[in-house]
Amino acid sequence: MCEEPTWDYETLMPTLVTDIQGFSIHDGPGIRTLVFLKGCGLGCTWCSNPECISGRPEVGFVRNLCIQCGDCAGSCSVDALVSEAGRSPEIHRRRCNGCGACAAACARGALVLYGKAMTVDEVFDKVRRDRMFYEASGGGLTVSGGDPLLHPRFVRALFERCRGEGIHTCVETSGYAAWSAFERVLPATDLILYDLKIIDEEAHGRYTGRSNKRILANARRIDESGVETLFRLPLVPGINDSDKNLADTACFLQSLGPRARHLQLMPYHDYGRGKYDSLDRAYIPTDVVAPTAERLEQIRKELAERGIDCSISL
C-alpha cells in the first residue's frame, strides 16, 4: 500500500513576493509584518503599489539611484536591456521576462526586481522573527498586495503556520476573487481588511477596470461568515468621495449584519508615483490632491450621521 506523501504541495510552491515589511503599524492591530504578494484582479487608477498588479515578475528602474556605471550592461540574456557606461539603461518591456539578472548586477539598487519567488517556509521564516513584538502588541502577519486572494493556497498554508505558533493572521483584499478562494483562506484568518472602493457599478468599472458585483456579493458572504472584518474605503477625492458614494457605502454597510457599522478611511496619497516611473508606466491621477484633515473630519461626520463609525488611517 502506498502512503500519502508527508510534504505539502502548497508550502513548496513559491509565490511572488514584492516586499516583506516589518514594523508595519497601519494595517491591522499591533505591530505587524506586511507581506506583499504580486497579482491583482483590479487595476485601480490610484493604486499605490503598481508593482503588485501584474502577476508576473517585473523589473523596475529607479532613475535617481542610477550612477550610469554600466555594470548592468551584458547582464540581460533576452536582449531587453540597452545599457552602457555613461548613460542610464533602458528596458524593453515587451522583451523583458523579469528574470532579474540585471537587478542582480546593479549594486546600487537602481534596477530592482519586483517579485521574488518565495516558498511558504521562506516567508514564514521571516515573519516569525518578530514574534516577540507581535506578542507584546497584539500584532501579527498581514498579507497584502496586490490581492492575496489570488494565492489562496499559499495564504492558507502560511496562515496555518502562523496559527501553529499563535501569530495573529490578517488578509487585506480588494474582494475581487472567487468565493472559493475566500473559503480556502477564511478558516485560518483572524481578520479581514476589506476594501469597498465605489458602490456604483458603472463608476467602479470605470476606475478599477471591473464590475463590483462580485466584490459586494463576497462582502455579504464574508459578513455572514462571522470572521472579524474591517471595511476600508481608500478615499480618492473626485473619484469616490462624493456624497452619493458615501451615502451608498453607508447604505451598503447598513444592509449587512450589525457588526458592519465601522469604516476605515484610507486617505489618498501619491507616494506610489515613483514606482510608476520605475515601471515606465504613466501615473494617471496627477490632478488628485490628498484630502485635507478638515475634509476627512467632514466625511467622518457625514458618515456618523448615517450610523457609520469612521476611523482614519494615517
Partner: protein
C-alpha cells in the same frame, strides 16, 4: 515590588492640557534669540585671588578663589526670570576657566574673532578678550592639564600629543577637558539640611582636630575650605535677594513687584536653610548648579529630578499652596536655564567633538528605589510635558526604563520625542545597568540609585566617578583598526602611533588579520589607560574643587577629602567607540578577500588608499557596501559585532588600575562620530576617509539597515553588547511613524519589548528636513529611510522627486 505612587488618569489629563504660559513662551523666545556671550569676569577674579593667596595650601587657595568669584561676580535678574541665577550677567553667557585649563582657548591669540566665534559672532568683546588673554597667560603652564602633559612627556615622549594630533581618542589626553570628576549634587541632603548643615558637618570635623583625634592636616584644610565655600554660597544667594529687593522697589508693574519680593524671600532662605516649598527647592537646585558652574568648567548632572523635587511638590500640592500651572512655570524657568547653560570649548579636540557648546545638564526621570519599587510620579510626566512645550534641544532627558515602568510614561516620552522633533527624551534600560553594577560587585540597593551622566553613561549616586576624566573619554576603535592595516602609521600625521603588525597583503587567513588587530588594540589601549592612571596621580596636586566636593562628592565632607583625591571608593569608566564600523569592516574583508575571494587584499587596500576614487574604486566600494552589514538580522554580521565588542571589553577589563576597581565600559555617542571619523582612512565597510563613523554605539552603519526597525532591534539583541553598561541605539524615523497617537503607542510597545529582551538604550529621532534633502540628492546614504502609510510599501529613496518634496515639506510642518 510595586508602584509606590499611582499617577491618576485625571492628573495625567490635567498635565496634558497644560500649555506654555506667556512668560515661558517669551522666555523661550528670548533665550533662543539672545546673543551668546563669553564673560571674562570669572577669569579676572580667579587671577586676582590666585595672586592674593600665593603660598597658602592648594585647598584653601581654591576655596578662596571660589569665594572671591561668587562674592564679586556681576549678576543680573532679567525681566522674565522666575528662577534666578546665572554664571554671568548675560541672558546667555559663559565664563572661562584659565585657572583650570591654562591657555587652552582655541583661537585666543589669533587676530580675528575666532575665539568669540565659537559661541557667537562677537561673543567676546575686545576688552574682555584682553582680560582673557592676560589671565590665560598668567595661568599658562601651571594648571593640572599642563602638569599632566609634562608628566606624560617625561615617560612616553611625544606619544600622547601624537595620539591627539592623529585624533585617536576623545577627548585628547592633553585637552584638559573634564579635569574634574563627575558626580551629581547630593540633592536629598542639600534640600533637607541646607548649606548650614554642611557647615556644621565641617565644623564637627575641625573639632576632631581640637580633640586631638585627627592629625592629617589635609583634612583640616579641607574642612576649613568647606566652611569658606558654603558660607560664600550663602552670600551669593543673599546678593540675589538684595538685587531682587532693589528691582522690586523700582518695578512699575505691581505683579512683577510682588514676584520680585517673593524671589527675594526665597533667596534669603535657600540654600542656607532646608527648602520648605517647591519654589525654594528649585531655586536651591539652581543656586547650587550655578555655584558648581562658577567653580568648575563642566559641572554636569542634575540626576533624578522628579525624585528630589517630589517631597516638596507633593506637600505643596496637598496643602493647596501650589497649582500645576505654577509648578510647570517654575520647572520651565529652571529647565530653560539648565538647557541653555553655555560652555566655551577648550583644548585641541573639544571644540570639534562638542560643537554645540551647551553643558550637558542631564535630567533623569522615573526609575526604582533601593528595594526595586517603581517611583514614577506626577513630576515624571510634568517635566516631560514642560520639555515638550519648551522644545529646547537641551537639557538631556533620560527616561529610566525598568520592568515596572508605567506604559503611559513611555507613551508620554514618545509624545515628547515627537514634539521636540526627536531625541528628547532617550530611554535607557535600568535593569541592565543594575545587573552590570551587581556583576562588578556593587550591591543591588546601591546600584538601583544610578543616574545617567550626559547621555547614557550610568553613575552611582553614591560614588564619585571618573568617566571621561584624566583625558580618557573614549578609545577610537576604528582608528586602531586603521592603524592595523597601515603598520601602525596614523593617517593625519604619518607618525607611528601603533606597532608594526605586518603587511596585510601577507596575511593568508582572516584569523591572521584579526590577530593583528588584536595585538594593535592591546598595545594602544593599554598605553592610553596607563596615561590616564598617571594623570590621576598628578592632577590633585594642582587642582581642587572644595565646593563641588561638599555638594557632589559622596564621602568628601565625612572623610575630609577633596573630590580630586582618588581612592578605592571612586568608580572608573571609559568608552570604546566605533565597534560596529570595525566589525562591518572585518566582515567585508572576510567575505570579499578570504571567503569568496572576490578581490585580493592588495586590490582592496589600493582602492581604500585611493579613497575609493575612480571606476575601479567605485566598483570595489559597491562590493564593500554589499557585504553583510550589522543591523539586518544576518547572523554572521551580528556575531562579528558581538565578537569585536567582547574582545574590546576584555582588554579594558584586564587593565589593572591602582585601586583594583573594575573599569566600567559605557558606550555613549554624543556627536563624537563626526570627530572620530576625521582621523580614519577609508574603511572596508565602504566608508570613505574622514567621513563620520557610525552614529551611536549600537546603530547600524548609516543607510545600511534595510529590514526596518524590528530587524535592527533583532540584530542589536543578537550582538548583545553585554560587556557594556550602556550603549546607544539611535533610530531615525520619518514623521509618518510618530505623528499619530496610535503609532506612538506601537512604538512604546516596540521600546518595551526591546528592553524586556535585553536592549540597553534607544533614542528616536525624527528625520529632519535637512536630512531628507540630503537623502534626495545622495540616496546611496539613506537607503534605510522608510516611509510608512497604510497598505503601502516604499523606501524614501524610491519615491518620485515630487513626492520626496512633499514628505520634506510635511516633516517641517510636523504633519
Amino acid at each position: 515590588m510595586a508602584t509606590l505612587h499611582e499617577v491618576t488618569t485625571d492628573r495625567l489629563a490635567e498635565i496634558d492640557a497644560l500649555d506654555l504660559t506667556d512668560r515661558l513662551r517669551a522666555l523661550r523666545e528670548a533665550v533662543l534669540r539672545a546673543p551668546r556671550m563669553i564673560s571674562a569676569d570669572r577669569a579676572k577674579l580667579a587671577m586676582e585671588s590666585w595672586k592674593e593667596t600665593q603660598g597658602e595650601d592648594i585647598e584653601i587657595r581654591r576655596a578662596k578663589l571660589f569665594q572671591k568669584i561668587v562674592e564679586n561676580v556681576p549678576m543680573a535678574i532679567h525681566d522674565l526670570d522666575i528662577i534666578v541665577g546665572r554664571e554671568t550677567e548675560h541672558l546667555l553667557g559663559a565664563p572661562v576657566f584659565p585657572d583650570e585649563t591654562g591657555d587652552a582657548l582655541p583661537g585666543l591669540w589669533a587676530d580675528d574673532d575666532s575665539v568669540g566665534g565659537m559661541l557667537f559672532e562677537g561673543a567676546l568683546s575686545p576688552t574682555d578678550k584682553e582680560v582673557v588673554r592676560e589671565t590665560s597667560a598668567f595661568f599658562r603652564g601651571q594648571t593640572a592639564p599642563d602638569q599632566v602633559a609634562t608628566a606624560w612627556e617625561a615617560v612616553l615622549g611625544s606619544w600622547a600629543s601624537d595620539l591627539t594630533d592623529a585624533k585617536g581618542s576623545d577627548p585628547s589626553p592633553d585637552s584638559g577637558f573634564y579635569p574634574g570628576i563627575t558626580a551629581r549634587g547630593r540633592w536629598e541632603l542639600i534640600l533637607s539640611k541646607g548649606m548650614r548643615g554642611m557647615i556644621e558637618e565641617a565644623e564637627a570635623g575641625i573639632r576632631r582636630f581640637q580633640e586631638m583625634k585627627e592629625t592629617d592636616v589635609d583634612k583640616l584644610y579641607f574642612w576649613q575650605a568647606a566652611i569658606i565655600v558654603c558660607t560664600a554660597m550663602i552670600t551669593y544667594a543673599r546678593r540675589y535677594a538684595l538685587l531682587a529687593r532693589e528691582l522690586a522697589a523700582k518695578a512699575g508693574d505691581p505683579v512683577r513687584r510682588e514676584e520680585l519680593e517673593q524671589i527675594a524671600d526665597v533667596c534669603e532662605w535657600v540654600p542656607e536653610h532646608p527648602a520648605r516649598t517647591f519654589h525654594e527647592a528649585i531655586q536651591c537646585l539652581n543656586f547650587i548648579q550655578v555655584g558648581r558652574g562658577l567653580e568648575a568648567m563642566y559641572p554636569l548632572l542634575i540626576g533624578r529630578l522628579d525624585q528630589y523635587l517630589w517631597p516638596s511638590f507633593e506637600a505643596d500640592m496637598r496643602e493647596g499652596r501650589l497649582t500645576l500651572e505654577r509648578a510647570a512655570e517654575l520647572l520651565g524657568g529652571a529647565l530653560t536655564l539648565w538647557g541653555m547653560k553655555l560652555v566655551v570649548p577648550v583644548g585641541k579636540t573639544q571644540r570639534e567633538t562638542h560643537q554645540v557648546s551647551f553643558a550637558i545638564n542631564s535630567v533623569n526621570l522615573s526609575g526604582v528605589d533601593a528595594d526595586g519599587n517603581d517611583v514614577t510620579n506626577d513630576l515624571s510626566y510634568l517635566i516631560l510635558h514642560v520639555i515638550g512645550l519648551l522644545k529646547l534641544s537641551a537639557p538631556t532627558v533620560l527616561v529610566n526604563w525598568h520592568s515596572q515602568v508605567p506604559h503611559s510614561l513611555l507613551v508620554k516620552g514618545l509624545e515628547t520625542n515627537y514634539r521636540t522633533k526627536g531625541g528628547i527624551p532617550l530611554f535607557e534600560n535600568s535593569d541592565h545597568v543594575v545587573a552590570s553594577f551587581v556583576a562588578d560587585g556593587f550591591s543591588a540597593e546601591e546600584a538601583r540609585n544610578w543616574y545617567g551622566q550626559g547621555c547614557v553613561t550610568p553613575i552611582l549616586s553614591t560614588r564619585i566617578d571618573h568617566n571621561g576624566c584624566e583625558g580618557k573619554g573614549a578609545v577610537n576603535v576604528a582608528f586602531i583598526f586603521d592603524l592595523t592595516l597601515h603598520r601602525g602609521i596614523a593617517y593625519l600625521t604619518g607618525k607611528k602611533i601603533g606597532i608594526d603588525v605586518g603587511d596585510p597583503r601577507e596575511f593568508g587567513t582572516f584569523d591572521e588579520l584579526y590577530d593583528a588587530f588584536k595585538r594593535q588594540y592591546e598595545y594602544v589601549v593599554n598605553r592610553f589607560l596607563w596615561l590616564g592612571t598617571l594623570a590621576q596621580s598628578v592632577e590633585p596636586k594642582y587642582l581642587r574643587f572644595p565646593f563641588n566636593s561638599c555638594i557632589a562628592g559622596y564621602g568628601c565632607l565625612e572623610k575630609g577629602q577633596d573630590i580630586m583625591i582618588t581612592d578605592a571608593d571612586h568608580t572608573y569608566g571609559i568608552s570604546d567607540r566605533a565597534i560596529v564600523d570595525v566589525a562591518d569592516s572585518l566582515m567585508a574583508v572576510k567575505k570579499l578577500v578570504f571567503d569568496d575571494r572576490t578581490i585580493t587584499m592588495d586590490e582592496l587596500l589600493r582602492a581604500m588608499d585611493a579613497n575609493f576614487e575612480g571606476n575601479e574604486g567605485e566598483r570595489i566600494r559597491r562590493l564593500c557596501f554589499n557585504a553583510p552589514k550589522f543591523g539586518n538580522d544576518i547572523d554572521e554580521a551580528d556575531f562579528m559585532v558581538r565578537e569585536v565588542g567582547r574582545f574590546s571589553g576584555s582588554v579594558i577589563n584586564a587593565y589593572q588600575n591602582p585601586f583594583d576597581v573594575p573599569c566600567k565600559i559605557s558606550r555613549e555617542g554624543l556627536s563624537w562620530h563626526y570627530f572620530g571619523g576625521l582621523g580614519v582612512r577609508a574603511l572596508p565597510n565602504g566608508r570613505k576617509a574622514k567621513e563620520p563613523l557610525d552614529d551611536g554605539s549600537m546603530s547600524p552603519m548609516r543607510g545600511m539597515d534595510k529590514q526596518g526597525p524590528t530587524g535592527v532591534l533583532r540584530s542589536v539583541l543578537k550582538a548583545g553588547f553585554d560587556e557594556s553598561y550602556a550603549s546607544c541605539l539611535n533610530q531615525k524615523y520619518s514623521s509618518t511613524l510618530m505623528r499619530s497617537p496610535e503609532s506612538r503607542e506601537k512604538l512604546a510597545v516596540l521600546t518595551d519589548t526591546f528592553f524586556r529582551n535585553g536592549g540597553q538604550h534607544i533614542q528616536f529621532n525624527l528625520v529632519d528636513e535637512e536630512e531628507l534633502l540630503d537623502a534626495k540628492s545622495h540616496p546611496e546614504n539613506h537607503k534605510d529611510l522608510v516611509v510608512r502609510v497604510g497598505g503601502f510599501s516604499a523606501y524614501f529613496v524610491m519615491l518620485s522627486p515630487e513626492v520626496q518634496d512633499d514628505v520634506i515639506y510635511r516633516s517641517e510642518q510636523g504633519c
